[in-house]
């Protein structure tokens, strides 16, 4: 029995290693076979670059897989891993920020910096999860959001400091390329130390499977066990990130394979996950070297693992038991419900005021704040008006899309950004940039809409099987954004000038908005928001649930399809000018509801105006804060939006 249960994982490790070794030997053959003739450069490269690279792959894979297996054991969560909990991304962000702003701190050791970053990310994720009793879903959900946010922020930080751009980016995306034995030699003892610690807590970890009460009754100190296990897992992820950057999803994939292959108990899962992870990353890397040739040095292995790893998350989703619902406690509404007319009367003047302020108020060359001087009015108008118009209408569209999605999925966390629809639009634009030489506005819009629809389609394909449970829809969306993110990471790492265009575009800068784009955004916004207004009755009834809405005569299937299509279109158009990461689509509907706009029509209108104001304010802050430099508006609102999301998750009760 026990021998048989080890047979499966062992044969998988063997198979992975065999294929990897065959590939590795084929690459090494010219050097090894022709020793005398070729003793020069190639041999030096082989010994000091290729071999250490292989060792690094083996060690990093082992560390990440062990870290993932530990998280999965101690949290009793099959989706936990350094990637899905945001641990790796946290370490990465810390390293990027320290490198750019206080490089002196690196003197204390990269590991220490990475460790504090990953610990901070872990703390944040657990803080969000604590309110919902560390349920599997809430942890992964907050982890992925933290992960995406940290990833985006590091990307943008690098973007703003372009001299570091390419090398940092390749490193950040997890490149295993080596020039010496330093990294594998420093990684090995760290892994060994953690392994000893894990051996000590192995038995209590087994008992952890009995549930809290059962384990405690047998004399396990659960608090101490969790602290030790989490510290070990966080440290492993931090070590790897500090050595080679973020290598996505190995920590999720390896334990999953181990489990499917028959490693059942905690001990077996830890050991086999570690070995499988090691072999898996080794194989990925040798395959990459074999197929990409010289280009492989610049193609980050980590981004490649992420592209192949995130679909696994989608496949695993149906297996996840979801124990709680997010919508149990509706947001407290302070005021009495407002009507659409009141919404217009209250919020419209505020919106006009904000627009006017953003238009006429700005910073002068001597760094003071001034009203627009009349003699420069024409020039400044031409500069400011298009971007303000684009920002306002994009914000409004995101807000309407968010309102639709929140009502449709019955989940207050839904929004174009969280569901990955914006990321899909980004991917569409990326395709446009690379497929069409100089994509015009129309081509960009078309591709961006295609990308958004693609993501929507996949999400609902996956989630429909489980009856569109809101949690699954959300998680599927986040997993998709992670994948899109990884694709963009690979594109960014190529150093292609078009990638830099794409990055700037992702950060949501309104800097380059043309008059035509602004007009287009305005026209589309009015048309699409109007269309949403026509569907307000459906939006009122659908949150009651599919069966109740159908009983009241709503054509549920058609209504959902139309509304989803509308939300996709809105997100695609908005993403064109403010990028995929603004979180306005999440914030604005809530703001509207807090103001008392509870029914569909007022929430749509009030939300749209709020979203517009938020975006214009972000745009103004972006161009005034660091004057004469500019912070992209999408980034400014993301910096506000992500903490907002965290507060929201804290408030949602399990």
């Amino acid at each position: 029995m026990s021998v048989r249960s080890h047979l499966g994982p062992a044969s998988i490790v063997l198979a992975l290693l065999t294929v990897a070794l065959v590939l590795a030997v084929r690459q090494a053959a010219p050097v090894l076979g022709d020793a005398a003739a070729n003793a020069g450069m190639a041999r030096i490269v082989f010994i000091n670059s290729t071999l250490p690279r292989m060792a690094t792959a083996l060690l990093a894979g082992a560390c990440l897989a062990l870290s993932g297996a530990l998280f999965q054991q101690v949290l009793r969560n099959p989706l936990a891993s350094p990637t899905t909990l945001g641990i790796s991304a946290g370490a990465n962000l810390a390293l990027v920020a320290v490198t750019l702003f206080v490089p002196g701190l690196l003197g204390f050791g990269r590991d220490l910096v990475a460790l504090s970053g990953s610990a901070a990310a872990a703390g944040l994720v657990f803080l969000m999860g604590a309110r919902q009793k560390f349920s599997a879903f809430s942890l992964v959900m907050s982890g992925l959001v933290v992960s995406l946010w940290c990833g985006a922020l590091s990307a943008v930080l690098m973007l703003l400091n372009e001299r570091y751009l390419v090398s940092l980016f390749i490193w950040g995306a997890g490149s295993l390329s080596q020039q010496s034995w330093t990294i594998p030699l420093s990684l090995a003892p760290k892994l060994a130390i953690v392994c000893v610690a894990v051996a000590v807590i192995l038995r209590p970890l087994v008992l952890n499977e009995l549930g809290d009460a059962g384990a405690r009754a047998l004399g396990v100190n659960l608090g101490r066990l969790r602290v030790v296990a989490v510290i070990a897992a966080v440290a492993l992820a931090a070590f790897v990130t500090s050595a080679v950057g973020v290598i996505g999803f190995i920590g999720l994939v390896a334990p999953t394979i181990a489990r499917l292959a028959g490693a059942r108990r905690a001990g077996a899962q830890l050991v086999w996950s570690t070995l499988i992870g090691s072999a898996l990353l080794f194989l990925t890397d040798t395959t990459l070297l074999a197929t990409a040739g010289t280009f492989a040095d610049f193609l980050p292995t980590g981004a490649v693992t992420a592209i192949f790893g995130s679909p696994l998350l989608l496949i695993l989703l149906p297996r996840l038991k979801i124990r709680h619902r997010l919508m149990e406690a509706p947001a407290p509404v302070a005021l009495k419900p407002e009507t659409a007319r009141r919404a217009a009367r209250i919020v419209l003047p505020a919106a006009i005021l904000v627009l006017a302020a953003a238009l006429f108020f700005g910073r002068s060359p001597d760094l003071g704040f001034t009203l627009m001087p009349p003699d420069l009015a024409g020039d400044l108008m031409a500069l400011r008006l298009p971007r303000i118009v684009a920002a306002f209408f994009s914000g409004a569209m995101l807000a309407v899309a968010g309102t639709i999605l929140q009502r449709l999925t019955g989940n207050e966390m839904a929004s174009p950004e969280v569901l990955g629809i914006s990321a899909g639009a980004t991917l569409g634009v990326a395709a446009a940039v690379f497929l069409v030489a100089t994509p015009g506005l129309g081509a960009q819009l078309g591709f961006s809409a295609l990308g958004a629809f693609g993501v929507l389609f996949v999400i609902f394909l996956i989630a429909a099987r489980s009856g569109l449970q809101p949690e699954r829809v959300l998680l599927a969306g986040i997993a998709l954004s992670a994948m899109v993110d990884a694709v963009i990471g690979v594109i960014g790492a190529t150093g292609d000038p078009r990638a830099i265009f794409l990055l700037r575009w992702m950060s949501g800068s309104t800097y380059s908005v043309t008059v035509l784009a602004a007009v287009l955004a305005a026209v589309l916004a009015v048309a699409l928001v109007g269309a949403a207004g026509l569907m307000r009755r459906w939006l009122d009834l659908l949150p009651l649930g599919a069966s109740a809405a159908a009983a009241l005569g709503v054509p549920v299937g058609r209504a959902r399809l139309l509304l989803l299509g509308l939300a996709g279109l809105l997100s695609a158009v908005a993403t064109m000018s403010v990028g995929p990461l603004s979180f306005v689509g999440l914030m604005a509907p809530h703001l509207a509801r807090q103001l008392g706009f509870v029914r569909a029509a007022p929430q749509l209108l009030g939300g749209a105006l709020c979203g517009g104001m938020l975006m214009v304010a972000a745009d103004w802050l972006g161009r005034s804060l660091a004057y004469p430099y500019e912070i992209p508006a999408g980034l400014v609102s993301a910096l506000v939006g992500a903490p907002f999301l965290i507060i929201l998750m804290r408030r949602a009760r399990g």
């Binding site: 029995m1 000590v200 807590i201 192995l202 038995r203 209590p204 087994v206 008992l207 499977e209 009995l210 549930g211 009460a213 059962g214 405690r216 009754a217 047998l218 004399g219 396990v220 100190n221 059942r264 108990r265």
Partner: protein
């Protein structure tokens, strides 16, 4: 090994009794238990009965040290509960949680072997004695026939028996059972409770058990403790407690008591 103030090992199994003095427990300002004072005698089966939310489960969780009392003191074998070491306590008291849905990815034997953890600890060897105790526990509870089956393939009754076997392997002098028959049909309830009674009498174990069904409690317990709204309102032998008046006080509905036609035990029914 640290020398213990009191030897709690099964060889020198002393009078293992629980004593509560003025124990209260509140969560978020709500009192789940108020000023409960009682003692559970060694070597007997003590049943906790009461309406839903009366504090039965809370009391047994306090005894099992799953929670700490807000006020009052708890003693085990004459020592304050919080003064006993974690491992020492797990060697003396075994606890069956209400929810036994965890541990699906184990075989029954592996589950039962978990009960040996307090004895071998995190690093100690799993000795032959440990192995013997596991086999013995499975034989006692009649789960040896399904030792290699996965826990998640078991029926509710089998699963509860498997967990009981784990408690047996833990080899303690005292069992705390929180509704061990909650999910069982009447046949399996009889089976599990008869098992507990047999084990208690064969091995001289002290048992504290939470039961919903007053007739089952009266049939299998030596002594009953009735809780209502977090307070202890009655205690005594089943014969003394099973009167219409007392049952009305406990459950708040008109009840009466008759005799079992075949066995000489009281039977309660709703009027």
């Amino acid at each position: 090994m640290v020398a213990h103030a009191t030897d709690l090992s099964p060889k020198a199994r002393p009078a293992a009794e629980f004593r509560a003095e003025g124990v209260s427990f509140s969560v978020e300002g709500r009192d789940l238990l108020q000023d409960v004072s009682l003692s559970f005698a060694p070597g007997t089966i003590c049943g906790l009965v009461g309406h839903n939310g009366s504090g039965k489960s809370t009391l047994i969780k306090l005894l099992a040290r799953q929670h700490k009392p807000s006020r009052g003191t708890l003693h085990f074998s004459g020592r304050p509960l919080e003064a006993i070491g974690t491992q020492e306590f797990a060697r003396a008291v075994a606890y069956l949680p209400q929810d036994v849905t965890a541990a699906n990815a184990m075989t029954v034997r592996e589950l039962v072997a978990c009960g040996r953890y307090p004895w071998h600890g995190a690093l100690g060897r799993f000795s032959d004695l440990d192995g013997e105790k596991v086999e013995e526990a499975m034989a006692l509870t009649h789960v040896d026939g399904m030792a290699d089956r996965m826990v998640d393939t078991l029926s509710g009754g089998e699963r509860q028996r498997a967990w009981l076997a784990m408690l047996m392997a833990q080899d303690t002098g005292c069992l705390l059972l929180d509704e061990p028959t909650s999910a069982l049909d009447i046949a399996h309830q009889m089976e599990v409770l008869a098992l507990v009674r047999r084990l208690s009498h064969e091995k001289g174990l002290s048992v504290v058990i939470v039961l919903h069904d007053i007739n089952m409690a009266a049939r299998f317990c030596d002594r009953l403790y009735a809780l209502k709204g977090g307070r202890l309102i009655a205690e005594g032998a089943p014969e003394d407690l099973m009167t219409g008046e007392t049952l009305h006080a406990i459950y708040g509905i008109e009840m009466n008591v008759t005799r079992h036609p075949a066995l000489d035990i009281p039977l309660a029914y709703v009027c």
